[in-house]
Every structure is written in structure tokens, then in C-alpha cells.
Amino acid sequence: MKRVNKLLALSIGLLATPTVILAMPIDLPADVLQSIQLKPIAPSPSYPPVVLPFTADFCAEFPETKTKIEVRVVTQGNALAAYVDKLPEETENRRNERDARLEEARSEVDQLRGEQYARLMDRADGDDEEDAVEDYQKSVEDAVGSRRSAVDAAIVEFRKGTDLLLVKRRTAMESTWGSFRASMIAMLAVLETGCANGVATASLVSEFKGSLAAAQAKVLNDKKMAESTQGQMKKLADTQRQDVAIATKIFRAKLTAANAELKQAFGGE
């Protein structure tokens, strides 16, 4: 009885321990709590904003403001130039990666088909059936080859078309940048002259806002141009998709014919 009581007490102890632990107040040091607090993720702009003194000190602080704006314009221009410069190489690299992935996928399917041909040959009984399997393999491989050539041609065509669009896009981006930069330089010149001539701050601020809005409109227009380019790219893709669909349909028809012949050779209907 004593032994039973001991076992009972042990069981109750084991069952109760997690509950007691969970019920205990968590008393962690403040610095630990601090370290595990979730911090709000704030949107991080690529560049910190240039704070403009829209006050009576506008002209007094203008040289500093001008430098900040110039630095901003140059930094953004450099980012754009870097993107444009690396675009051909990036495009080429990405295309090579896609080619490699496609090649790998094709290679896997080729291997699988090779195994399937071997299994068919195992089933062949006599010269006639073996010849039939060989003919079948040739027919299927021809069909696969034709389809792949069509797909490759479609990719090449799409890339050619895309290259032309990208050249246009590059020109448009550079033009937008040039135009934006010119607007900002002109705006700074107007503000500088205004300050030198004692123009009221309100007028200068108004001038600044108007010029900036005009420059921003050009940038927005570029976005519309990019969307239009994307639309043209989609049309290119649709055309090539149709070509691939036709090639796939022809492939399916050839495969069906080859299948029927092989089935017949193996005593099918």
C-alpha cells in the first residue's frame, strides 16, 4: 500500500510540475524584455528627405538647401546610371540562368524518357517488336526535337523584341533623368536669383513647389511609359505563347500517331 501511495504521489508530482511552471509569473530583467520587443517596421526610403526651411530663413539657409538638393539629384542620378549601365549584363545573366534551368528540366525529362524506352525494349519480343520500339523512339525524339526548336525560336524572338523595348526604355529613362535634372537645376537658379533680388519667401516657396511638381510629373509620365512598354512586352509574349501552343499541338499529334503505331506493333487494335 505504501508503494502504491508513493507511485501515486510521484505521478501527481509529474503531472503538476508543468502547470506550476506555467502559472509562475515571468520575471525577466528589463534589458531582456527590451531586446525581445517587436519593433515597428517603418518604410525605409532609399534617401532621407531633404528638409526645406519654408520660413523667413529660406534665403539665409538657401546655400545649404541648394547643396542638399544637388546632392540628392546627383545621388539619384547615379543610382539610375548604375541601373542602366548594369542592365545589359544583368539581363544577359538572368537569361543564362533561365537557359540553364530549362536545359536542366529538359535533361531530366530526357533521362526519364530514356528509361521508358529501355522498359519498352524489355517488353519487345522478336525483331519486329524491337524495330517497332526503335521506330517509336525515333519518332518521339523527332517530335520532341521539333517542339524544342520551336520553343527555342520563340524564346529567341521574344528576347529580340524585348531587347528593342529595353533599348527604348533605357533612352526614355535617361531622358526622364536629364529632364528632371534640368528642371531641378533651373529651379535652384530661379530660387537663388530670387533670394539675391529680395523676392518674398512665399513667392519663392510657391516657385519651388510648382517647379518640383512639374519635375515630378515628368517622372510620373515615365512610369506610364514603362507600363506601356510592359504592355508591348506582354503582346510579344502572347505571340510567342501562341507559337509554342501550336508547336505543342503538333508535338501531341505526332506523339499520338507514334503511340498508335507502337500499340499496333504490339498486337493492339
Binding site: Y47, P48, P49, V50, L52, P53, F54, I69, R72, Q76, G77, L80, Y83, V84, L87, R101, L102, A105, E108, V109, L112, R113, Q116, R119, L120, R123, D125, V140, R147, R148, V151, A154, I155, F158, R159, T162, L165, L166, R169, M173, T176, V205, L212, K218, K223, A226, E227, T229, M233, K234, A237, Q240, V244, T248, F251, L255, L262, F266, G267, G268
Partner: protein, 118 residues
Amino acid sequence: MAIIVVTLLALLSVAALALVWFFRGRDEGLRSAEIPATPASVEDTRGSEDSDSTLEKGSSNDSGSDRKAVEKIIAEIEETPPSDESAIDSEYTAESMSLMEGTAVVGQLGTGYDETSE
């Protein structure tokens, strides 16, 4: 005294025999309950191609079964995806993304001028 010793020895012998019988029986039971060397699931994952035909090639009686196996392999070949049917989709997605990256860079041009500090 001798009778007692003999009786005890006899009882011990019976007990030993009983123990041997008991353990042998238990081993047999365990052995029969062991997992078979080739689990049913592995058999299931194997293609049923073999079960549809005799393994021996050239027998005149297995032509019908072989035809079924061949038809199954043909169906497999037919069902294997061409692997390049979505190549243009991949092309469009990637090139389009690249285009939009450029747009995002241009979109930065007009930003970052704080107009709220009046």
C-alpha cells in the same frame, strides 16, 4: 529420502521442459509477427507493370499482358510534361520584372523633398 530427491528432480525436469516449451512458443509468435523483409508498401510503389505480364520474355501466352504493360509505358511517356511549355511565361515574368525595377529607380527621382516643414 531418495524418493523425495527423485521426486524433486522429476519436478525440476518437468519445470525445465515447461520453460523450454514456453520460450520456444514465444519466439515463434514473435517471429511470425515480425515485419516482412519486403513491406507491402514498397510492393505497392513498384509499377504494376510486372504484375500485368509474365516476366519471361518470348512466351506466346504473354503477348496480351505485354501489350498492357507497353500501353502503360506509352501512357507514361504521353503524360510526361514537355518541361518547356511555360518557357515564355518565365521569360515574360523575368523581363517584365527587370523593366519594373528600372521604373522604381526612376520613380525615386522626384521623391525625398520634404514639403511639410512649413
